[in-house]
């Protein structure tokens, strides 16, 4: 690779350490005591997994740390990850009653304090339930799959997770930058699920290494929690050049390969303005890139990244250019990216996502010199797999009923694969709640068939 930004190995390692420190003991106790312990607290209602927040905070204050971790993880099987990545100012902390009187309780940090304690003290929080003789296959070991598996195991099902990567955890393990979510946090959550007797088969891709039919026939129930696929192509000239990256692949590389082997050069452009784009941009800065620009075809107002991520990116020195779209990637004689031709946009009437449609401003092309172009424009649906199972879907979004049951009564779905259109970001905490609901959906169906059988 050319255009290596020179950066030492120690600096690289430091750059990818967790940015936000956890609370120290005095801070945690002071903050836990400051919580009013509301009745019918709005923070509980704001949490998609319904964690009993006042309860876990009170347990920190009373010195019942094990109880605190249990309350969190019971409602949210990936509660340790969520403590670090949830947009708390839009969820629990945004709802805190103290917003109207002083300042909201640092709920995310307290949740991290309790789950860090559980990890450090190697506590096992849950046990598997008495066997009910039923089996379940969970396709995909990310937050939705893990949550479904955990709840099914507690309800007595024999669960097997099929994970296509080398380790489970999904985007928590591979997709969210190390300096926001260290891998060992996600892997601890995976370990907790394994301890309930859940079998996790890794390096096995359903539809490729094993046929769907085998799974659908072998198990009593199936949970489809496969998430989404790769970043789609931009559909422009030059995409095959050396130096064009998939944002999700880049972040995964920073979590799985030695950092010294990675380089994005000195000047980077990231196409997109969601949280993944910000992850790719901040990774690039931390890999030594001097100038990192995020380009988005709409404006700041339509950007889907969380406010705190936006602020973080700005502090990292990432630049933002709004109302710009890439038109053509230009390579040098060695087939390497050397420049990016862009065109300006303006906003028109709302499109089907409800956001203003970007319209090309004719003749407004301009070119910038770049070493890398990183695509962060969303993710493809895993259509081939959905169709192989034969499930009803809307443009690749699997259709489910209130029980999270698909058009195949044995198959239930949760997570990004049922995430619809819109301008909201799919949150890890949503995936966790959907995973739980899919498990309860299965149990509802199982109990009603059992009742019919004995009637």
């Amino acid at each position: 690779m050319n255009h290596h930004a020179s950066i030492s190995t120690e600096k690289l390692k430091r750059n990818f350490q967790e940015v936000v420190p956890g609370l120290r003991e005095k801070d945690a106790m002071d903050e836990a005591t400051r919580c009013l312990y509301c009745y019918d607290a709005p923070c509980i209602k704001a949490c998609p997994t319904g964690i009993n927040i006042p309860s876990f905070i009170k347990k920190i204050a009373s010195g019942n740390m094990k109880g605190s971790a249990r309350v969190i993880m019971e409602a949210n099987p990936v509660g340790a990850s969520c403590a670090r990545v949830c947009p708390t100012s839009e969820l629990c902390e945004g709802a805190c009653v103290l917003n109207h009187a002083s300042s909201p309780i640092m709920i995310g940090q307290l949740q991290r304090y309790a789950t860090d304690w559980a990890m450090k003290n190697r506590v096992t929080l849950f046990e598997k339930g008495e066997s009910n003789g039923k089996t379940a296959a969970v396709i995909g070991g990310g937050p939705a799959g893990l949550s479904a598996a955990r709840e099914l195991a507690r309800l007595g099902y024999k669960v097997t997770i099929y994970e296509s990567k080398a380790q489970a955890g999904g985007l928590n393990t591979y997709g969210i930058v190390s300096f926001r979510l260290p891998q060992q946090v996600a892997l601890w959550e995976v370990e907790q699920v394994e301890k309930l007797g859940v079998t996790i088969l890794t390096n096995i891709t359903v539809g490729k290494d094993i046929q769907v039919d085998e799974i659908v026939n072998e198990y009593d129930y199936i949970v489809l929690a496969v998430g989404l696929g790769k970043v789609p192509s931009l559909g422009i000239e030059g995409e095959e050049l050396d130096g064009v990256y998939d944002a999700i692949q880049l972040v995964e590389d920073t979590k799985t390969r030695p950092l010294e082997t990675l380089s994005v050069g000195k000047r980077v452009v990231v196409i997109g303005a969601g949280n993944t784009a910000i992850d790719a941009a901040t990774c690039s800065r931390r890999l030594g890139a001097e100038r990192v620009t995020m380009m988005y075809r709409r404006t700041e107002n339509e950007m889907t990244a969380y406010d705190f991520e936006y602020e973080f990116a700005k502090q990292e020195g990432v630049e933002f250019r709004w109302l710009v779209t890439p038109k053509r990637i230009i390579g040098d004689e060695n087939g390497r990216v050397k420049a990016l031709e862009c065109v300006r946009m303006e906003l028109g009437q709302p499109d089907e996502s409800g956001r203003p449609r970007p319209i090309t401003v004719e003749g407004s092309e301009f070119t910038v010199e770049v070493d890398s172009v990183i695509k962060a424009i969303g993710q493809n649906k895993l259509l081939p797999l959905i169709e192989a199972i034969g499930l009803e879907h809307v443009q690749g979004v699997v259709k489910v009923n209130d029980n999270h049951q698909t058009s195949n009564p044995k198959v239930f779905a949760a997570g990004d694969c049922i995430f619809g259109l819109g301008n909201a970001e799919a949150m890890v905490v949503d995936a966790a709640e959907q995973g739980k609901k899919a498990a309860y959906g299965i149990h509802n169906v199982y109990l009603s068939t059992k009742k019919e059988a004995t009637a």
């Binding site: 009745y39 009170k58 347990k59 019942n64």
Partner: protein, 419 residues
């Protein structure tokens, strides 16, 4: 999962967490909610002859935003006896395994006591608690603490009740007294099956410096009330411990006084309580607080491999003695951990102004300031470790003594024999 069941003088309960006789146990609706929330027992709000309550009955004492003390000028039940009895019967029907105890107060008349006891036991309560402690409103009529401050009256009225009671009798003692052991012994003499303590402490919460009214005030006038809440815990704990170690008392104890969480409950049980009662914490947060109390206690016992909570009752009592029996040759000194010290200098000024002037602020080699204890001058009083805001920054370290233990009693005896 440890076994949290207790037996207090013959009264069984699924766990040690009971609600004390107070506003939270006024009605059947409330007691049922409490049992549903997980409380193991409840002592009903004191039954007796009709009274009339005033408004503006409570006051709180806040410290740094937390309510640490509470005071009330409320009296016993202001609802008719029949209504209370009917509701108690219904509660027992719905919750046969929870402990329901009736608190009683009656004028000093033997026949009237007998009548009340029989009427109450008729509805199926698990035990009785005799209120010899209400410090306001009833004492003026010869009841409540007017009884509790006189050992002979405690003994007499306990005997009266025991003449007819079929269920265990708990005598609730007042702390507004010189030495609670005397009234505890009197309860024992009277035949009590258990004692509970403490009731509330005489108090005046404050004065409104703008209006010059007492706090609380009722139409511009105030009267002393009963103090409770976290602030009274050390007073209550001491009284429990003194009674627990007194061979002339020798009765099961229900510990009351500022218990807010599972740790407080463990402390009271270690110092001799077979069960505990809570009021203020429930009034501040609601009945849901019992969930963490139960879980915290369970985790505590599990971590130590203790199977039943009754095993911890009284385990610290043998270590509670008299000043004259303390070892004068036990030496500790303060040690400050440089790593955790944040240089607030609070330890220095506390020691310099009010203790033994042995903490110095010195310049370390790197130019920063360092707090250090002159151990040869340190008397090991603990003051610095109390004022330090950082947990475990200042620890009291035992300095092994080359002298055998020596108490004041022994020291005095030696002095006398030398003369």
């Amino acid at each position: 999962m440890a076994d949290l069941r207790i037996n207090l003088g013959g009264i069984q309960a699924p766990n040690p967490f009971w609600l004390a006789s107070a506003p939270p146990t006024n009605t059947g609706y409330q007691v049922e909610r409490a049992f549903e929330a997980g409380w193991g027992g409840a002592v009903w709000k004191t039954l007796g002859d009709p009274i009339i309550n005033v408004t503006s009955r409570f006051a709180g004492l806040k410290y740094n935003g937390q309510t640490i003390g509470f005071n009330n000028v409320e009296l016993i039940t202001d609802r008719p006896l029949e209504v209370n009895l009917k509701e108690m019967k219904e509660v027992k029907r719905k919750f046969p395994n929870h402990a329901l105890v009736a608190s009683l107060m009656m004028e000093p008349n033997r026949e009237r006591w007998h009548e009340l006891v029989k009427a109450v036991e008729d509805v199926g309560v698990d035990g009785l608690e005799l209120n010899f402690g209400c410090p306001h409103g009833m004492a003026e009529r010869g009841m409540g603490s007017a009884v509790g401050q006189h050992p002979e009256l405690v003994q007499l009225q306990t005997e009266w009740v025991k003449e007819v009671a079929q269920t265990p009798v708990i005598v609730k003692l007042t702390p507004n007294i010189t030495d609670i052991r005397y009234t505890a012994r009197a309860a024992k003499q009277g035949g009590a099956d258990a004692i509970s303590m403490i009731n509330t402490i005489n108090s005046l919460m404050g004065v409104d410096i703008d209006t010059w009214n007492p706090i609380p005030h009722i139409d511009g006038k105030g009267a002393h009330g009963g103090y409770c809440g976290p602030a009274v815990k050390p007073i209550a704990l001491n009284m429990v411990a003194e009674c627990a170690r007194d061979p002339q008392v020798n009765l099961p104890i229900s510990g009351i006084g500022g218990i807010s969480n599972w740790r407080d409950a463990v402390e009271f049980m270690l110092m001799g309580s077979s069960g505990i009662q809570v009021c203020t914490a429930a009034m501040l947060y609601g009945f849901r607080i019992v969930e963490d109390m139960i879980e915290g206690l369970n985790n505590y016992l599990d971590e130590r491999g203790i199977e039943s909570v009754m095993e911890i009752v009284g385990k610290s009592v043998p270590r509670y003695s008299e000043w004259g029996n303390l070892n004068l040759n036990y030496k500790v000194v303060a040690r400050i951990d440089e790593e955790s010290c944040i240089n607030c200098n609070r330890c220095h000024i506390a020691c310099e102004d009010t203790s033994h002037q042995c903490i110095d602020i010195i310049q370390a080699e790197d130019g920063r300031e360092k707090l250090t204890v002159r151990e040869e001058d340190c008397v090991g009083c603990n003051l610095c470790s109390i004022v330090c805001p950082i947990e475990d920054c200042i620890t009291m370290i035992e300095i092994p003594s080359n002298q055998p233990p020596l108490t004041w009693r022994e020291h005095t005896a030696l002095m006398n024999s030398a003369q």
